[in-house]
């Protein structure tokens, strides 16, 4: 409904869509680019591209997968264009041992390791697991977003989880 209003030229509705999907778009872009600034630029490019292409959107279908396809493409394009930057580095010595970290530091280290493990995955696999386990899209929707068969999406999610789960043995959800 909101998307249909935006499609009809309602800029307020478009603003609400941006608000609703901003975090999701930024997470998906970050899963591709591994850099929060680049990810924000890609997410912004995607929203502006979506605004231009809004006439092409089929309002009878869910808006999220349509937008996420644009986000994934914008992030992939930006990754191809950008000069090589240093990936976020982790203090390996700190991870390996040293003084007993407190809970917050331990969590920060775990998140850093998780980002690093995510970065080791092929791009399509990263996107598949983030879209499935973080954003809650169904396999069929992810297949549409990434332009690959549903069976391949299932396989990518499975392999990504197997890679990441080794890091999360001691993960405890914190408020």
């Amino acid at each position: 409904m909101l998307a249909a209003r935006a499609q009809a030229g309602d800029r307020t509705a478009f603003g609400e869509l941006v608000e609703r999907y901003a975090d999701q778009a930024r997470r998906v872009a970050r899963a591709v680019l591994q850099d929060s600034d680049d990810a924000d630029d890609a997410a912004q490019d995607a929203f502006l591209a979506a605004l231009v292409k809004l006439k092409q959107y089929d309002a009878t279908r869910p808006f999220g997968p349509w937008l996420m396809r644009i986000v994934a493409n914008a992030a992939t394009d930006r990754r191809r264009r950008r000069t090589v930057r240093r990936a976020e580095s982790l203090d390996e010595g700190y991870i390996g041992g040293g003084p007993q970290p407190d809970a917050i530091a331990e969590r920060a280290v775990l998140l850093g390791r998780l980002r690093k493990a995510l970065a080791e995955l092929p791009e399509r696999r990263r996107l598949a697991v983030v879209l499935f386990d973080v954003e809650g899209y169904a396999h069929a929707e992810i297949a549409e977003i990434l332009g690959m068969p549903e069976g391949t999406v299932r396989s990518e999610v499975f392999h990504a989880r197997r890679h990441l789960r080794t890091l999360l043995a001691d993960w405890r959800e914190q408020p």
Binding site: E19, S36, Q44, D133, V134, R154, S155, F158, R165, L168
Partner: protein, 109 residues
């Protein structure tokens, strides 16, 4: 974290999902939304407009070149067919043509 994962598992893993969500968490959503909306409401820069026109111009030039190529090829084909028909007339006769006919059939160089 579920231990019994298979490729056929169609349920998101809440623990992995929460961990990844925290790892990818963006900061300052309000500032990002404001930035996107400012960019969306900004009028197109003159260079962007020219870039749009240049794409149209290139497409139009390609079309013109294509039509010109087709026209030239068609004219050349018609000329060849005309020359060939004269040759056929000369060759199909039962009697030898007069010398003047033969000489007249040579194209001028």
């Amino acid at each position: 974290m579920k231990d019994s994962m298979t490729p056929f598992d169609s349920h998101p893993d809440p623990v992995l999902g929460a961990a990844l969500r925290a790892a990818l968490a963006p900061e300052d959503s309000a500032a990002f939304v404001a930035r996107v909306l400012v960019a969306a409401n900004r009028p197109a820069a003159p260079l962007d407009v020219l870039a749009g026109w240049s794409r149209l111009g290139i497409a139009a030039a390609l079309l013109v070149a294509l039509f010109a190529g087709v026209a030239v090829a068609r004219d050349a084909g018609a000329e060849d067919a005309e020359t060939a028909s004269q040759d056929v007339v000369i060759m199909a006769g039962t009697e030898a043509p007069e010398a003047i006919t033969l000489l007249a059939s040579f194209p001028e160089r």
